[in-house]
């Protein structure tokens, strides 16, 4: 211990480390910030997990389009603790997205974006965008079937930007097709470029926190007045401030431990996402889906009215980004307490509820046809005659069952037909099959009359109690 003390004193004398770090650690912060102020540091801990496990993974991952998958299989199945590294990296990413969202909600609800911390909010919005980009590019690096096709879907969406779309798409792919150049580029973005931006932005974020101080827990009837706030804040800190270390920092430390513990436990018990089939753009059996934190956006794309995609894919992120960036410029003063800002509270409730519902729908994905459906068993068909049995078979073969559900079998893209015999007449069913609908193809040119009759007979037999 004595040796350590001597070593530290030698180091400190030559670096003035304690003179620099000491004031930072012990700078006064408002009292009673409580547990709700931990999410920023918790996000930073999650980011550190990503950096450290990411470096570890990068020592074994081969970013060659032809070999990335094999190197990942080796990391997952053969490398010592490779399975844990991948799991920590995946759940660390999930934790980071969740915590950055919670941090943002907290700073919004406590009006911490108001004067003089407007710029910190702006930097935070960029960090949110960069975090989501890291999640997306990271998923692609798994470079399995899902990864390859998700890249193509991303390029298609980028292609919707007016004028520049095809150029952006080509830039994303690193060429005209998804191939060798694509993965190398995404590796560089994910490992070097975006993290460099995040490091810079986090540094700026922390400098601004130190510069302006942590916002005090808001009180009703204590609005922010830019003319008087700074003097009032300094005075408050002088009178009531407590040293950040350890009075406030202890909560950050405890939550940091919890974050790491949760990530490690999930990584150990649940494990990393399974690697899908090897990346082959010629394999048709693919169903690209984003990781859970973007499933809500996946649902938005699926539920958009026809013809509105171009506007939503490009316009919605643009409008959302502008609203977030402009928020502190427009609402930089006034009440901070949520009890005096009902619009702020309602908007959070609406956004969280909407995203939550979209998450659940994105997971269920009823709009996706069910290609794995089996032919209806005889116990469900209850065929009163050969026509009905034949109709049930054709219902499966003609792809109807991909989208329509009968007694628990089939997809949910279209209406449930379990009791359609009670609802529609035979003529109505014929018209619908032949003419199709908004989301249903017209079978007029591809359905033989005898097949049509059999399917209609089968569907008319679908009744309650039938």
């Amino acid at each position: 211990m004595r040796f350590l003390k001597i070593a530290w004193e030698w180091f400190d004398e030559r670096t003035d480390a304690s003179k620099v770090i000491g004031p930072i650690l012990k700078h006064p912060v408002p009292p009673n910030t409580g547990w709700k102020y931990v999410f920023g540091s918790a996000t930073l801990v999650a980011f550190l997990i990503q950096v450290v496990t990411g470096i570890a993974l990068a020592t074994a991952y081969v970013s060659s389009a032809g070999q990335a998958y094999e190197s990942l299989k080796w990391i997952t199945d053969k490398a010592f603790l490779g399975h844990l590294m991948r799991g920590m990296h995946y759940f660390g990413a999930s934790a980071m997205v969740l915590l950055v969202g919670m941090h943002m909600i907290r700073t919004f609800l406590t009006g911490s974006y108001k004067f003089p911390r407007e710029l910190n909010w702006v930097v935070g919005v960029f960090l949110l965008g960069l975090t989501l980009l890291m999640g997306f590019t990271g998923q692609l690096l798994r470079w399995d079937q899902n990864g390859v096709w998700s890249t193509i879907v991303a390029a298609e969406q980028a292609g919707r930007v007016p004028l520049l779309g095809p150029w952006i798409a080509r830039f994303l792919m690193g060429g005209q097709t998804v191939g060798a150049a694509t993965l190398s580029r995404f590796f560089a973005y994910h490992v070097f470029f975006i993290p460099a931006l995040i490091f810079g932005m986090v540094g700026l974020h922390l400098v601004l926190v130190l510069r302006h101080g942590i916002s005090e827990p808001p009180k009703p009837s204590f609005p922010v007045n830019p003319k008087t706030y700074r003097a009032w804040y300094e005075d408050m800190l002088h009178q009531e401030g407590v040293p950040f270390w350890p009075d406030a920092a202890w909560r950050d430390a405890i939550v940091g431990v919890l974050v790491v513990a949760c990530v490690m436990l999930l990584a150990w018990w649940v494990g990393p996402p399974e690697l899908g089939t090897p990346p082959d753009p010629t394999v048709i059996q693919a169903y690209p889906r984003p990781d859970w934190y973007l499933l809500w956006y996946f649902a938005v794309l699926a539920l958009l009215p026809h013809g509105s995609e171009d506007y939503v894919i490009v316009g919605a992120p643009l409008v959302a980004g502008v609203c977030l960036l402009v928020l502190p410029l427009v609402f930089n003063k006034g009440e901070r307490a949520p009890s005096r800002r009902p619009w702020a509270v309602v908007s959070i409730i609406v956004i969280v509820s909407a995203v939550g519902v979209l998450w659940l729908e994105g997971d269920r994905a009823p709009w996706s046809p069910d290609f794995d459906n089996k032919a209806l068993p005889a116990t469900v068909v209850h065929a009163a005659g050969p026509d009905i049995a034949n109709g049930a078979q054709l219902f499966h073969e003609k792809g109807c069952e991909n989208c329509h559900n009968v007694s628990g079998y089939g997809g949910h893209r279209g209406p449930d037909l379990s009791h359609v015999g009670d609802r529609l007449s035979a003529q109505q069913i014929v018209l619908r099959i032949l003419n199709g609908g908004n989301n249903m193809p017209a079978y007029a040119s591809s359905m033989k009359p005898e097949d049509l009759n059999a399917i209609v007979a089968f569907l008319k037999s679908r009744r309650v109690g039938g």
Partner: protein, 163 residues
Amino acid sequence: MSEQMTEARRKFLSRLSLGAGGIISALIGLPVLGFLVAPLFERVGREWRGVGAVGDFEKGKTTEVRFEDASPLAWAGVTGKTGAWLRHQPDGQFAAYAINCTHLGCPVRWLPEAELFMCPCHGGVYYSDGTVAAGPPPRPLVRYPVRVRNGLVEILTSPTPIT
């Protein structure tokens, strides 16, 4: 007098230093930027790739075919290939369709009994001639140029279709 000269000199030296910083940034940044955006301007030649003999494809049927991209990089591995749906039409002509749905690019599947292409992502449906039958796709499946040469069906390599 000497104080004024010192100020003027300082101003000049400041501008000189900032200019030097600008030159350093340009000397490093421009070639790097050029390297990064090069794929946007690269002229990739298109090549005809054989996908099978005419006799391999039954009339009236649609089959999945695979072919190598034009000039894939040596380390592309399996990602250097592209898939397409090839239809041998009843009149003997061939039509090749990109497997990418025109909605958001997911690979469409062919349902032979239904004679329909169906997309797993959002339920887009196309008829056998690639026209939109139902769902969100805004336009028909992209067609690749196809020809028959000496009894061999060939498809012209093409960029990934971006809607």
